[in-house]
């Protein structure tokens, strides 16, 4: 447990909390970016350099921009006039989340004595990852390529403007 770990954890969790709690949705999206970046740094701390860069590219680069676009397109940036930003059933939702965290935290703390202690960094450079993706994981890679194509075409079709509709 190093100081770096605690600093990165504080940054990530503060970003996540702000993303969920803030009123203005643009601020939420920016805090979400901070949480994503903190998570990428945590991946670096875990010696997973490639995943950290993928995290930066996909989440900080693409998903955060997508969220900002959606916020601006749906005009959600202004806070709602009545009712606040939280749902009527917020107490039930909060209790469910707290219960889930209690169970997960209890499970982790109970299993602490059996968790491994090794600290030497495993070697995983991009070459090894590429080789694994092209040999053992080539079928999942192709399926994920197909899924991404289908999902992006589907997203465009779903969000496309209907010319002959009422709009």
């Amino acid at each position: 447990m190093s100081v770096v770990f605690f600093v990165l954890t504080a940054m990530t969790l503060a970003g996540a909390l702000a993303a969920v709690l803030l009123k203005n949705l643009v601020h939420c999206a920016l805090s979400l970016t901070v949480a994503f970046a903190g998570l990428a740094l945590l991946f670096l701390e875990l010696d997973a350099q490639f995943v950290a860069f993928v995290q930066i590219l996909v989440y900080v680069g693409a998903v955060a921009i997508l969220v900002v676009f959606a916020i601006l397109l749906t005009r959600s940036a202004e806070t709602p006039k009545a009712g606040g930003v939280f749902s009527r059933t917020w107490l039930a939702g909060l209790s469910v989340a707290a219960a889930v965290f209690a169970v997960l935290g209890w499970a982790v703390l109970e299993s602490t004595p059996w968790l491994p202690q090794t600290t030497e960094a495993p070697a995983a450079d991009v070459g090894q990852i590429g080789e694994a993706l092209m040999s053992r994981y080539v079928l999942p890679l192709e399926i994920v390529a197909l899924l991404l194509t289908a999902a992006l075409i589907g997203a465009v079709i779903v969000a496309m403007h209907e010319k002959d509709g009422a709009q």
Partner: protein, 107 residues
């Protein structure tokens, strides 16, 4: 986690807390985009678990956890694109993104 415990436990607790924050956001906010943000946070917490178990697991050289995390990131990106497209279409159709007011499936 303080005092000689495994560093893996710290990462697992962080991931659990992040998952709970995302779940609370998805369950309590009224804006549909915030629900999607909560889901993204939950997926990221799962990725942190996968990478932490890969790093401290018995066989990190076979890269299983890392591959799982990479594929999970790809699927999450597809989910975000489709989800936000749906939110934009719902806003165009029903003039609201408030999930409390989305109470009918008929168009």
């Amino acid at each position: 986690m303080i005092g000689g415990a495994s560093p893996l436990a710290g990462y697992l607790l962080v991931a659990a807390l992040m998952f709970a924050i995302g779940l609370a956001g998805a369950l309590t906010r009224r804006n549909a985009i915030l629900v999607l943000i909560g889901i993204e946070l939950m997926l990221n917490a799962a990725n942190l678990n996968l990478i932490a178990f890969w790093r401290y697991g018995p066989h990190p050289e076979v890269l299983t956890g890392m591959m799982f995390a990479i594929f999970s990131i790809a699927v999450a990106a597809a989910e975000a694109a489709v989800g936000l497209g749906l939110v934009i279409q719902i806003h165009r159709h029903a003039k609201t993104v408030d999930v409390d007011q989305m109470n009918r499936m008929k168009g």
